[in-house]
């Protein structure tokens, strides 16, 4: 061996030994089967004032399609809670109970109990924004009338093995089909709203629907057949700063979405023009809206322009729009009225809660930063007396596959 190769060889051996000893430490290694995949996480405060974390940990062997092909009847997840004086400590304390290290990267829901939310959520959200493992795109949802722990211990869906999947599914269809819940209500947007001037955060409202209210709750041995409760999405939790101040119901929430232009679809129910006491359902096909705040003579006014298109979805009683074209225009104006009602309901609720969830202030800031600078300190007052002008243009475009409803002979 010539000296050239010898020196290279020796240094190669040294280098390999060095790199091998530094690199094969396997510090951050976590084998996939040693992880407990957290699919939902709830936050409450115990009576002692400690923070209580509840998690759903998926059971991979029960959820995934096994090699045998059969679907097990086992429950697909495990609900476990732990406490600590901070949220991080509580999360770490889960290690005392869970044989698998809880892994939060797949957690898509941050559920907050009503009580906790009323006291302010900023502190808990800091943890999720700071940690590299958690998702910034996790949804922030607030549970109405219950603690997150109760909710998570009871909730289950017949159609999905994991409650998180069920919630995800409902959430998506509510967003797309009903437009009655906040869109993009993630940790990221929540934090943005929190920091944006002239805008208050909202979050998805969750409610438990008990199935058998009298049945005792046996944690841990729930089988698929014994589904206790499911949940209801829709509506919104309204914050002022980081504190929960109240709730919007589904209609009010759609009112907010009308203003912010996030309505995708939904059903509007109006009176049947031809027959008293009968109703017509309209399906919203397309909606466009924009709002323009303006300051004039120390009076803030907002012009909201909404254009909506709908199709006839259902007619009660007898009505043939082919024969009574005036009914068509009447339905259009009724539709505009319905939209206006929803928007006004939302605005009056927002004013009642004194929370600018529409972002009128932020829009004013974008448009007239100077005026905003003078207004922003008393925005709470200004928001109360804000003047909203609504311009709704409603159009009925289609009537479905039949023209008139069937008439009994």
């Amino acid at each position: 061996m010539s000296p050239k190769w010898l020196s290279k060889f020796i240094s190669f051996i040294f280098m390999t030994a060095f790199l091998a000893s530094t690199l094969t430490g396997c510090w951050s290694r976590r084998e996939i089967e040693t992880l407990g995949f957290v699919t939902a996480l709830g936050v409450d405060r115990t009576e002692e004032g400690e923070i209580e974390i509840t998690v759903h940990i998926a059971k991979p062997f029960a959820v995934a399609r096994g090699t045998e092909g059969g679907v097990s009847t086992e429950k697909g997840f495990w609900t476990v809670s732990s406490t600590g004086s901070t949220a991080f400590e509580a999360m770490r304390n889960l290690l005392l109970q869970s044989p698998r290290r809880p892994f939060y990267a797949h957690n898509r829901f941050i559920l907050i109990g009503e009580e906790y939310a009323r006291a302010g959520v900023k502190d808990i959200l800091d943890l999720f924004a700071r940690n590299g493992e958690t998702r910034r795109l996790a949804r922030v949802e607030v549970i109405k009338g219950s603690t997150a722990k109760d909710f998570m211990q009871q909730v289950e869906f017949e159609l999905e093995r994991l409650p998180s999947e069920g919630e995800e599914g409902i959430s998506r269809s509510v967003e797309v089909g009903l437009s009655s819940q906040p869109v993009e209500c993630t940790l990221n947007s929540f934090l943005q709203w929190l920091e944006t001037e002239g805008m208050e955060p909202i979050a998805v409202r969750l409610e438990l629907i008990p199935k058998k209210p009298d049945a005792p709750i046996n944690v841990g041995e729930l089988l698929r057949e014994q589904v206790r409760a499911s949940s209801k999405h829709g509506g919104a939790a309204v914050f002022k700063g980081d504190k929960l101040v109240g709730w919007l119901d589904e209609t009010e929430m759609r009112g907010v979405n009308w203003v912010t232009g996030k309505v995708k679809s939904g059903i509007l129910v109006i009176d049947q023009p031809n027959e008293k006491g009968k109703l017509v359902s309209l399906e919203i096909l397309r909606a466009k809206s924009k709002f323009q705040p303006e300051v004039k003579n120390a009076q803030v006014s907002v012009t909201v322009k909404i254009e909506a298109e709908a199709s006839l979805g259902e007619i009660q009683g007898t009505l043939d729009p082919m024969k009574y074209p005036q009914a068509w225009t009447e339905m259009e104006s009724q539709m505009a009225e319905a939209i206006k009602r929803e928007v006004m309901a939302a605005i009056s609720k927002a004013k009642e809660l004194n929370s600018d969830i529409f972002g009128f202030g932020a829009a004013l800031n974008r448009k007239q930063p100077k005026e905003w600078a003078s207004l922003k300190d008393r925005w709470d007052l200004e928001f109360q007396r804000i003047d909203v002008k609504l311009e709704v243009e409603a159009k009925l475009r289609r009537m479905g596959l039949v023209t008139r409803s069937s008439e009994p002979k």
Partner: protein, 560 residues
């Protein structure tokens, strides 16, 4: 200088046409002259080599002495035939016919040599005249040379020429009577294509050069033949198209071949290892192929081929990385398909290099990357597997390599059986036994198949080796390890050169004009230029504006 080179024995024997008789002194003088003139001129002039070989000296006038010398030199080998013919008026002349049985065409010898010598020698009177007559008239073989040197004579005989010695003349004639059993020209087994020529090189150099010559019918195709190996004396030919190939690179090839000092060359692989630029690289910097069309294509780009007697594998230099992922078919298939297939090849090369390591990295470090249902699926499959993912991956990869090796080495009939048993039974059983997870089996199988999609196997072998390193890196530090490995690999590959041409040539350094033949293969009418760094001698390949168009007067006129 040209004359000097050719008159010494450096040139191809078949072109050896010198009328002057050369004795040993002449040769020595020439040799030293040559050495002086062309220091790096090649091969056989190596002093040690010639000295070791010199057993004889000049041929003797005495036939008996010659016969004994020849027989001694061959150590009475049983395949050496020394036939003594007594011819001429009254059998006054003795003609020795010397050949090696099995290397010669016996019909040729008996019909064109022995028969004619026996029949037509009646008028011979003295040895000198007999010798001339023999040389000029009687021997009915196209290629006849004469030599006065015993060594030279023996070398010719050992190569299948037939030697003729006449009494009282200190010279001998060697007639080219080579002919031996050889494999038919068949479709290459290692580089099959669907479209394109179906012939491949065989083990005989002459046939191979003829295959080339048939594809490049131009006098500018140069085939220089050299002899390498002090004992094996293997013929090695350099083929290039003069005017296209860079003369400097050709000279470099000559030099490197000239530096070779080994006793035997059995396969071009040995030559490859002896002349390549980066002996310790996992990737070859010389392309080997058994397809004449591939070699011809390379010649047209200005590259140089090295053909070796005794193997169907030719070497092409300078080689670039992209050539290893190119199949001749790419140039014959329709351009879109060819480009798509090429993209698939690049993808599969990358897959075969990194897929197992990506699996390991994702499952042990970056579980957040996969969608939740998939990660739960993988987790449930890993349930109960006793090894960490990295061990699992290494285990399966090693098992797979063993299977592949077993499948290749076994007889054709048994091979598939082994693959089936190995693939199905062991894989399935290992899965059921809970040793490995099903998804690991999928990963390994996909990797294996991807590695088969490389047209040139030698580069796939490089990826095969590196895959293990990548798995280890991924297992120790995750995706960062993979990135580090890829970066080190990229550094290595970009620093490689093959005969002066950067190995990663059209990619790094980026040669924009050559992107036409990188990922996408543009239609032939758009391939105006040769690769810039290889074929810079004559860059323009073809005429411009060759895009086919329908005739100008199309439409109804043509239907008349």
């Amino acid at each position: 200088m040209e004359l000097l080179c050719s008159s010494a024995k450096y040139r191809v024997p078949t072109q050896f046409t010198v009328n002057k008789t050369l004795d040993k002194d002449d040769l020595l003088m020439l040799r030293s002259l040559t050495r002086l003139l062309r220091k790096n001129m090649w091969a056989a002039s190596k002093p040690s080599q010639t000295k070791k070989d010199s057993t004889g000296g000049p041929l003797s006038k005495n036939v008996k002495v010659n016969e004994t010398l020849i027989k001694q030199s061959f150590g009475n080998s049983s395949d050496l035939v020394v036939r003594e013919l007594r011819v001429g008026p009254g059998g006054r002349f003795t003609v020795l016919v010397v050949y090696v049985d099995g290397l010669v065409d016996k019909t040729l010898i008996s019909e064109n040599l022995i028969e004619r010598i026996s029949d037509q020698t009646a008028k011979w009177c003295n040895p000198e005249q007999a010798y001339d007559d023999l040389k000029n008239r009687i021997i009915a073989v196209s290629d006849v040379k004469e030599t006065g040197d015993l060594d030279n004579f023996l070398n010719h005989v050992a190569r299948g020429d037939c030697g003729l010695i006449i009494n009282d003349v200190a010279k001998a004639l060697v007639a080219d009577t080579r002919g031996w059993a050889q494999r038919k020209i068949e479709e290459p087994t290692t580089e099959a294509t669907i479209r394109g020529a179906k012939e491949g090189f065989v083990e005989t150099l002459r046939t191979n050069t003829s295959l080339l010559r048939r594809r490049v019918k131009h006098p500018r195709l140069r085939i220089e033949e050299h002899e390498i190996g002090t004992i094996s004396k293997t013929s090695v030919a350099i083929a290039y198209i003069s005017g296209l190939a860079d003369e400097k690179v050709v000279q470099e090839v000559r030099n490197r071949l000239g530096r070779i000092n080994v006793d035997s060359i059995q396969e071009s692989g040995q030559i490859e290892e002896l002349i390549e630029d980066a002996p310790f690289s996992p990737f070859p910097t010389i392309l080997r192929t058994e397809r004449p069309d591939k070699v011809a294509g390379a010649l047209f780009e200005g590259r140089i081929a090295i053909l070796t007697d005794g193997t169907p594998f030719a070497l092409i230099v300078p080689a670039t990385f992209t050539m290893f992922l190119t199949s001749p078919e790419d140039y014959f298939e329709r351009t879109f398909m060819a480009s798509a297939v090429r993209a698939i090849r690049y993808l599969s090369f990358f897959t075969s290099l990194t897929l197992p390591s990506l699996y390991v990295a994702v499952t042990t470090f970056h579980q957040e990357m996969l969608p939740t249902p998939l990660i739960l699926n993988i987790a449930s499959q890993r349930e109960g597997v006793p090894f960490p993912a990295v061990v699992e991956a290494l285990l399966m990869e090693v098992l797979f390599e063993i299977l592949r090796e077993a499948g290749v080495r076994l007889p054709r009939i048994v091979g598939p059986a082994v693959s089936i048993i190995g693939g199905l039974v062991i894989g399935e059983a290992a899965m059921r036994a809970g040793l490995v997870s099903p998804i690991m089996v999928v990963v390994v199988a996909a990797t294996g198949i991807a590695s088969f999609a490389t047209p040139v196997f030698s580069v796939a072998i490089g990826a095969r080796l590196l895959r293990f390193i990548m798995v280890l890196l991924a297992g120790s530090i995750g995706f960062f390890g993979i990135v580090a490995g890829l970066f080190a690999l990229a550094t290595h590959l970009t620093s490689l050169r093959s005969f002066g041409v950067p190995f990663m040539e059209p990619i790094a350094p980026a040669v924009v004009s050559q992107f036409k033949d990188l990922l996408a293969r543009v239609p032939w009418w758009a391939m105006h230029t040769r690769p810039a760094l290889v074929g810079h001698k004559d860059l323009v390949r073809q005429g411009y504006d060759q895009k086919p168009k329908p005739p100008a007067s199309s439409g109804k006129d043509t239907h008349r």
